[in-house]
Amino acid sequence: MRREPPRGLADYAPLAFPAIMLVVFFVVPFSTMIAVSFFQRDAAGFYSPAFTLDNYERFLSAFFGNVLGFSIMLAVMVAVVCVLVAFPFTYLLSQASRRVQIVWLVAILSVLSLSEVIIGFAWSTLFSRTAGITNLLVMAGLMGEARALTPGFGAVLTAMVYQALPYTVLVLYPAIVRRDPTLLEAARTLGASPLRAFLNVVVPALRNTIVATLIMVFVFALGSYLLPQILGRPQHWTLSVLITDQAIYQSNMPFAAAMAVFLVLMSLALVGLTLLVGGRREAQA
């Protein structure tokens, strides 16, 4: 039984249910959101139909520019830190025994599946005055008095790295596991130390993977919606937090939708860039 093109209507039948579900509950909501971004805010209900560009015009303010700039800066920092840590980690993990790999993968998946609420709560506890790490420093005599490390930029960055690190490892894992082992063997045979072989052979060979991963983690970090809110001050709020805030607390769905459309376009452009980088990688191979 080989793969064959569908002949009659009956052959298409299995596609019907998934297609209907995905169109009705993903394409339609998505389009609704785009439509709403052109609507007017309605104080009484959610919104009223209209066609206005006001919601998009609000982007041109200095406040919005600051939020956008901060979101991008934060996401770039998270992506760089994650890849710097995750790349050597995943590389070493790929060389470990199968058993060790499985234990780590289970742990990484467990952390990855954690709710942002729980991550935020856990780090706010760790950074708090009464239950935080500063208590350990006090006990060790390194610090005079326990103090809170949150809210602050460092807390937001740490928690977002915590959230994105398992994701980074899982994005890197397939590429690193499948890499060509003969390259490294050749370098080692020619007398390169493990560290030198890693820096001069493994890293350059996976250059495109690294770039693609940076972009993927950047988009992932852009989506963080709670951590800046739980662990930061209002000036640490990102675009995602602002969207949630406008939609839920300010009841301004049209403006929230316009920001969401903007975020989609930015993410799509970056995901497209990733595919382009990935395509070039395959072309080279």
Binding site: M1, R2, R3, E4, P5, P6, P14, L15, F17, P18, M21, L22, F25, V27, P29, T32, M33, V85, F89, L92, A96, R98, Q101, I102, V106, L109, S110, V111, S113, L114, S115, V117, I118, G120, F121, A122, S124, T125, S128, T130, A131, G132, N135, L165, L170, V171, Y173, P174, P194, M216, G223, Y225, I230, T244, A247, I248, A260, S267, V271, L275
Partner: protein, 267 residues
């Protein structure tokens, strides 16, 4: 410095970083009195009991489990025929649906959540519990879709051909050959969707946030309106549950293979 030494250091640092907040939360969860202190003062497991005895937490737990079980099931029901069709037929344009299935997972979650919020508000079903189940099913359909596609592609076509040569029709082949072979992938797809749905906050919040409390919503509300060690107990409970489920997948399935294909070709 040898490579083994470097590896030990890096592995220990990453382990410490990943475990530290969870250790503190676990410590906080066994405090005897209702205080946020670490190291814990006294030892008590009563906060774990609260998850099941306190009506608020128990109903949040039941809501979360019901939501996760039903949405993961719906996600598998959507993904199975789609993955089967893509494997069985040559229809390049049908890949559009695969793309649609993966899209909600790649885009920032706030966007999907806001899409659902505007949609349910527009059709007038905003706040109904079942809207959260459908929303989660669509949001997490990627996971069973990816595991099932991987499962189908790992089937040896000659097995299927042998069955067809012996006179089995499509339906018989599906039931007696294909389904048993992809069952492990189906179960892991379900498990992935289940665990992530259990932990999901923003989509649940934007669809049923004001009518139904799931555990993440309840924790967030507790975070804003007053601390209780029960939150810490729930967090520990979630980590343990996820570790058990992924541990089971690793025990009965091929986790490195499953994750080795999670990104790469499928995206």
């Amino acid at each position: 410095m040898s490579a083994t030494f470097l590896r030990r250091i890096l592995f220990s640092l990453v382990a410490l970083f990943l475990a530290a907040p969870l250790v503190v939360v676990a410590g906080v969860s066994v405090n005897e009195r209702q205080s946020l202190t670490f190291p814990p003062q006294g030892f008590s497991l009563s906060w774990y009991g609260q998850i099941f005895t306190d009506p608020g937490w128990r109903s949040a737990l039941v809501n979360s489990l019901t939501l996760a079980a039903s949405s993961a099931a719906l996600a598998v029901i959507i993904a199975l025929p789609l993955a089967w069709f893509l494997w069985r037929r040559i229809a390049p344009w049908a890949n559009v649906f695969q793309l649609l299935g993966v899209a909600p997972f790649i885009l920032p979650p706030v966007i999907t959540a806001l899409g659902f919020l505007t949609f349910w508000a527009t059709v007038g079903a905003y706040g109904q519990p079942w809207t959260a189940a459908i929303s989660h099913a669509i949001f997490f359909v990627t996971l069973p879709l990816v595991t099932l596609s991987l499962g189908f592609n790992s089937i040896d076509r000659s097995l299927v051909e042998a069955a067809a040569t012996m006179g089995a029709d499509d339906r018989t082949v599906l039931r007696t050959v294909v389904l048993p072979l992809i069952l492990p992938y189906l179960i892991s797809g379900y498990a992935f969707a289940f665990v992530l749905s259990l932990n999901e906050y923003i989509v649940a919040y934007m669809t049923v946030g004001f009518t139904m409390e799931t555990l993440p919503i309840k924790i967030f509300n507790a975070l804003r309106y007053g601390y209780t060690p029960t939150m810490a107990a729930v967090a520990v409970f979630f980590v343990a549950l996820a570790a058990v489920i992924f541990g089971l997948i690793a025990r009965f399935g091929d986790l490195p293979k499953l994750l080795g294909a999670l990104s790469g070709d499928d995206k």
